[in-house]
């Protein structure tokens, strides 16, 4: 009985007491969660982009993040200046998008969504094998200084303690936000964006009004690559550049569940919910379970969410018909 009360206390009382007692720690957690949330949201946006334009659930998005970060660092280590390395990576992604469209997607047009999805798992393995072979698998540091990204941190004294804002995190949040805005505008305002939405609704119909499917697919895969590069740089700076980044990339999947597969604002808000939720849980409830809960808690948030809103945050309730 007493242990039960103690457990209930540990779950329901002491975490909140701690939040109030050390507000600086709490705000630090919120900030960290916010930064990872924007990055999750950005990766999720890469998924949404491809899903909207081609109905492909692109499982290789996480590995694209790894590939981007890894190739960038490797090019730099070969003696190529940092900014030229960035351009090289972009060129590489364009070629990759072209090849993927030409060699895989074009041959699977009009196939069932599951088959397209599985082909992207195959693609994931192709990329893992090749990237590891060419660039090696050893973790390395991101070249943040060389790219001109700020370092150091700002301290904001608060509640008797202080909250630290790493400069790199600030720039991550700023750049991710800018990218999100650009992508949202790109989707709703430009001609290509409208084409994308037409393609998503109906491949055949889009073809018949003169939209080039192939071109659009190359573009979205390239844009997904750009998104991957941005996330790769910032996440590489927060941890290391290694294949472990793939696991972080997977976190975009629960984000999609919350936000919906086709919603741009959904991806962003979902990202923030996941980022904040898992950070706060990790700090205050994680110790009860032993550490490392960050690995799966995002998925649990998504599952709990689904129990109450199976259609996601921005989805309409689906009326099934027969």
């Amino acid at each position: 009985m007493e242990t039960l009360i103690e457990i209930l206390y540990l779950i329901f009382v002491s975490p909140f007491a701690e939040m109030v007692a050390y507000p600086d720690l709490f705000f630090q957690g919120i900030w960290d969660g916010f930064v990872s949330g924007t990055l999750y949201g950005l990766i999720a946006l890469g998924f949404v982009l491809i899903f909207k334009a081609s109905g492909v659930f692109n499982f290789s998005q996480p590995i694209l993040v790894v590939l981007a970060a890894l190739s960038l660092v490797s090019f730099y280590k070969m003696g190529i200046p940092a900014w030229i390395s960035v351009i090289l990576v972009l060129v590489m992604f364009y070629v990759l998008a072209f090849l993927i469209e030409r060699l895989i997607l074009r041959k699977l047009v009009n196939q069932d969504g599951n088959i397209l999805f599985m082909s992207t798992i195959g693609l994931t393995f192709l990329i893992i094998g090749s990237a590891q072979w060419i660039f090696g698998g050893r973790p390395s540091a991101m070249i943040t200084d060389e790219l001109g990204l700020p370092n150091g941190s700002l301290e904001w004294p608060m509640f008797g303690g202080g909250v630290y804002f790493e400069m790199i995190d600030i720039s991550a949040a700023v750049i991710a936000s800018i990218m999100i805005v650009i992508l949202a505008l790109f989707f709703s305002k430009t001609k290509i964006g409208r084409g994308l939405r037409a393609v998503a609704d109906d491949h055949q119909a889009a073809l018949s009004v003169g939209i080039s499917l192939n071109q659009i697919w190359v573009i979205v895969w390239f844009v997904a690559g750009v998104v991957a590069l941005v996330t790769g740089i910032f996440w590489g700076a927060r941890s290391d550049v290694s294949f472990a980044l793939q696991i972080i990339g997977f976190k975009a999947l629960p984000v999609l569940i919350i936000g919906g597969f086709t919603s741009v604002p959904g991806a962003i808000i979902g990202g923030l919910i996941i980022g904040l939720g898992e950070k706060v849980f990790e700090i205050y409830w994680g110790p009860l379970l032993g550490s490392g809960v960050e690995g799966w808690f995002a998925y649990i948030i998504a599952l709990i969410f689904l129990l109450f809103r199976p259609q996601g945050l921005f989805g309409d309730k689906i009326i099934e018909r027969v």
Binding site: Q111, M118, G129, G290, I300, L303
Partner: protein, 362 residues
């Protein structure tokens, strides 16, 4: 010419409902069983060393065929996607380890079956979301199972009896005075145990999928709304598929650790393994039992052979060969999806159909 159904008339429904209605098929299966049970344990495979044949090819192929059967029941027959297969094998392995250490006198084969049952229960638990969500949403839910279980295998030391290595290891286990598992056991014995599991489990699976329960799975897979209106209860159908499938996966996990690897850590159950099993199912063919065998053989054997040949004949280092085999795996999956999304089993079926008609094209 040799493969005809002409002249083989069935006068009873029972005969038609048999597993292999054609006489030729019966012979074929008999030959395969003889090869697997007698020829390989005695002679091995020509051109390969005996030890290599059993430990690096036959035992893993047999075990992974069981895994593939399990995953195919879920994905191919019941249409519920899962990316947590690796972790569910872990559930089988860790629970088998617990049974072995808590009840040291319990026969290991019973431990294996019990661990299958435990996995079935855990699988059912993680299958619960399937009642509300489907497709890609469900897939993400199974990722939750994968990552949560991986975490549990590390963070719950009770599972590995608080030992320092963090892994699990099987002691020698006897049955009828023969050591059948553990470091001192003989590869041939372990192979025969696994093979027997495979044969029995294949038989059970083929029975279930042809009967009432199997049909309810396929109904849910093909059109869940119609299935429900005809009287299939989605709860029962989906959860039974998760349970039955996980039972297979759990058994294969227990076999993998205690009849093949000897010891294991959490890395043996990670998400990339889950993908590999998914590949076996897809390459072999969704919704086909024969396909499970083909998929497991192809996906396992080709990389192993490439590595072996690369190492012994060309002297490539392991790193290169490892990556080459990953690339090859990805390549195979893309090619098979483009050529025949229903996998090798469908190609085999088409070939058989042609053979039936031969020498006439139609």
């Amino acid at each position: 010419m040799f493969y005809r159904e002409t002249g083989q008339f069935k006068s009873k429904y029972k005969e038609e409902l048999a597993a292999f209605p054609l006489f030729e098929d019966k012979i074929g299966v008999g030959i395969l069983l003889l090869l697997a049970y007698v020829a390989i344990p005695i002679f091995g495979i020509p051109g390969l060393s005996y030890e290599f044949t059993l430990s690096a090819i036959m035992i893993p192929v047999v075990i992974f065929t069981i895994t593939t059967l399990g995953l195919n029941i879920l994905l191919g027959f019941a249409g519920q996607i899962s990316l947590g297969t690796g972790a569910f094998m872990g559930v089988g392995a860790y629970s088998c380890y617990k049974f072995m250490t808590i009840f040291p006198d319990l026969n290991i084969l019973i431990c294996v079956i019990l661990s299958g049952l435990v996995t079935a229960f855990v699988g059912m638990l993680f299958g619960l979301p399937s009642l509300r969500i489907k497709g890609f949403y469900l897939m993400v839910a199974t990722l939750a199972a994968q990552f949560f279980l991986e975490w549990a295998f590390i963070r719950i030391p009770w599972l590995y009896n608080y030992n320092n290595s963090g892994g699990i290891e099987g002691p020698n286990k006897e049955m009828f005075g023969i050591i059948i598992s553990g470091p001192q056991s003989d590869a041939t014995t372990r192979y025969l145990v696994c093979l027997t599991f495979l044969v029995l489990l294949t038989w059970l699976a083929s029975n279930v999928i042809r009967g009432r329960i199997g049909r309810s799975w396929m109904m849910i897979r093909d059109m869940d709304i119609a299935a429900e209106l005809i009287g299939v209860r989605p709860l029962t159908a989906k959860l039974s598929a998760f349970a039955f499938s996980s039972f297979y996966v759990g058994i294969s996990g227990a076999l993998m650790v205690f009849f093949w690897l000897g010891a294991a850590e959490v890395e043996s159950f990670d998400i990339n393994h889950s993908f590999t099993y998914l590949f076996m199912v897809i390459i072999g063919g969704l919704g086909s039992i024969t396909g499970c065998y083909m998929g497991a053989i192809l996906v396992w054997v080709i990389p192993v052979l490439i590595k072996e040949i690369g190492k012994t004949s060309f002297g490539y280092d392991a790193f290169v060969m490892e990556n080459l085999s990953i690339i090859l795996l990805g390549f195979m999956i893309v090619v098979i999806l483009i050529v025949e999304p229903h996998g090798l089993a469908r190609l085999w079926q088409i070939a058989k159909q042609k053979l039936r008609m031969w020498p006439f094209p139609y």
